[in-house]
Amino acid sequence: MSGILKTAIDHKIVMFRGSRRISSDVYWLLSCNSKPDLAARYSSDPPDWYEPGNHVHVSSSAYLITGEQSLLFDNLPPVERDPLIAELEMILGDDGLDYIVPSHHEAPHGGNTNALREAYPDAELLASGYGRGHEMYFLGDATRVYEGERLDLGGPVVEFVEAVILDTALHIWLFEHESRTLFSVDLLGIPHMGRDCLQTVDELEFEVTTAQLIRFHQQALPWLRIADPDRVHRALDEIVNRHAPSTIAPTHGLVIREDAIAYLEKMKEVVSEMATTPEAVTERELV
């Protein structure tokens, strides 16, 4: 792992945690938002995945895919502008960045789009062709990309995937064929312990639980509470049928390198439970 930088803001509440190479062509860059209220709550009543005394983090990730050309998928919240660019410079050196691809416009995903365009003026901005009102999100001049379109980066080959489990309409996922990595954006996010930053799910001491997944999704994708579970299950099956990922790289969770399809199956339990359980927790947490 490269060095860890911390932003000066808020005494470590939002922290850039560095980067890690997760395959020959893919780097994982991580920013964490510490949640002291959650840590206090969990310390008194620890869930299965949590050891009392640890920080609780919710993360935002960016993924850099490098071949002869490079592509950055998602780009962290604005507060991480300087460490993000520093990390990219360290990884890319003189090569520069060729493509900037925010999955969607929300701050944790596209917060540094404009800053990156200034830092890398020759990079091409790509954005989902789905949804409307691109101009409202500073994406008016982006090249629109759609399901099935591919980019050969000279080594890795990426394919744009229509987002299924999503919040905003202007939204795109990504699949890298060489590593069979699905970049699932808001799907499969989890809170994690501070000591587990940049650990992959298979490296964790505790198994990722359904409750842990619910904790994230009930905040990030509240519509799952009023979903028809069967409909969502069919959509999850289709993801498996079409892509059969061996790795899943979510924006708000830890990278899943083993049993990726099993985690998509676990999401069915998450969806079923969310759709049948009344809301019981306050929504101030996990913002």
Binding site: S31, E106, L166
Partner: protein, 264 residues
């Protein structure tokens, strides 16, 4: 196009700034509302980045040049917060939102400090109670989104659900009196475009949530950010019925939004 109208809610004037954008022959609206609370001005949501100069001119007009004293944001997305930075440069005001502890908290976005609003709680702003609600139904494209209820005017400000495309001839006109089938079509089309996950939803759950909202609260004016406001309890309830019908249409039809082509 951006315009300013006023609506009469329980004898009080609410200023309504609307930005209209053409969508396949209909119009999509992005609304900002300004409430006069005593001699202060409270704004709900802050429009898009696309009409800043005219937005400022209209706010100047509405506030007689004094500017706003408070801003309440339903959520951080740009069509709702597009003018916040711009407004900060013009005037000092209290800023209320739900995301003061998020990774994208207002200070880190160049929006200055904000006062945390917690859903399920209420606050007094210049002596008037505002209640911050979990959006019901859960038609939000941002987890931190809230609905805002002005308890005195019994007016519910809501985004992004309950939106509706309108006909060009209805620009700047409240939604009272629009034929039901026109509302049903506009609501369905808007939700398919803006919130494509609606195709995965259970319309009976949506119905239960929205009926609960309007049964549990006295709402005499519905002020969506993405639909023309509806004034009067009877017309509000008629709009709610149109919304319920639209949700059944959306979920049960074979038509799919462009952004979701996977099987339901």
């Amino acid at each position: 196009m951006i315009r300013h109208e006023t609506i009469d809610v329980a004898g009080e004037t609410v200023d309504w700034i609307s930005e209209c954008y053409e969508v396949g022959g209909k119009h999509h609206t992005v609304n900002t509302y300004v409430l006069s609370v005593g001699d202060r001005y409270v704004m709900v949501d802050a429009g898009t980045i696309l009409e800043q100069a005219e937005f400022k001119r209209l706010v100047d007009d509405v506030t007689d040049g004094t500017g706003i004293d408070a801003l309440v944001l339903t959520h951080a997305d740009l069509p709702h917060s597009g003018n916040v930075k711009f407004l900060r440069e013009q005037w000092d005001f209290d800023f209320y939102c739900t995301f003061t502890e998020a990774s994208f908290k207002p200070e880190t976005m160049g929006l200055g400090e904000a006062i945390q609003c917690d859903k399920g709680q209420s606050m007094e702003i210049f002596g008037r109670e505002f209640r911050f609600l979990i959006p019901q139904p859960r038609l939000s494209d941002a987890g931190h989104e809230m609905a805002v209820l002005d308890s005195e005017l019994e007016t519910l400000f809501v985004a992004d659900g309950l939106g509706c495309y309108h006909s060009p001839e209805h620009c700047g006109q409240p939604g009272d009196g629009v034929p039901r089938d026109e509302h049903v079509a506009g609501i369905a089309a808007y939700h398919l475009d803006a919130l494509p996950f609606v195709v995965f939803l259970d319309p009976h759950k949506i119905e239960a949530q929205v009926r609960g909202l309007f049964e549990d609260n006295d709402i005499d004016c519905l002020a969506p950010i993405h639909a023309n406001p509806v004034v009067g309890r009877e017309d509000v309830l008629a709009y709610v019925e149109a919304f319920i019908e639209a949700m059944h249409v959306v979920v049960e039809s074979e038509e799919r939004p462009s952004s979701v082509s996977l099987p339901r």
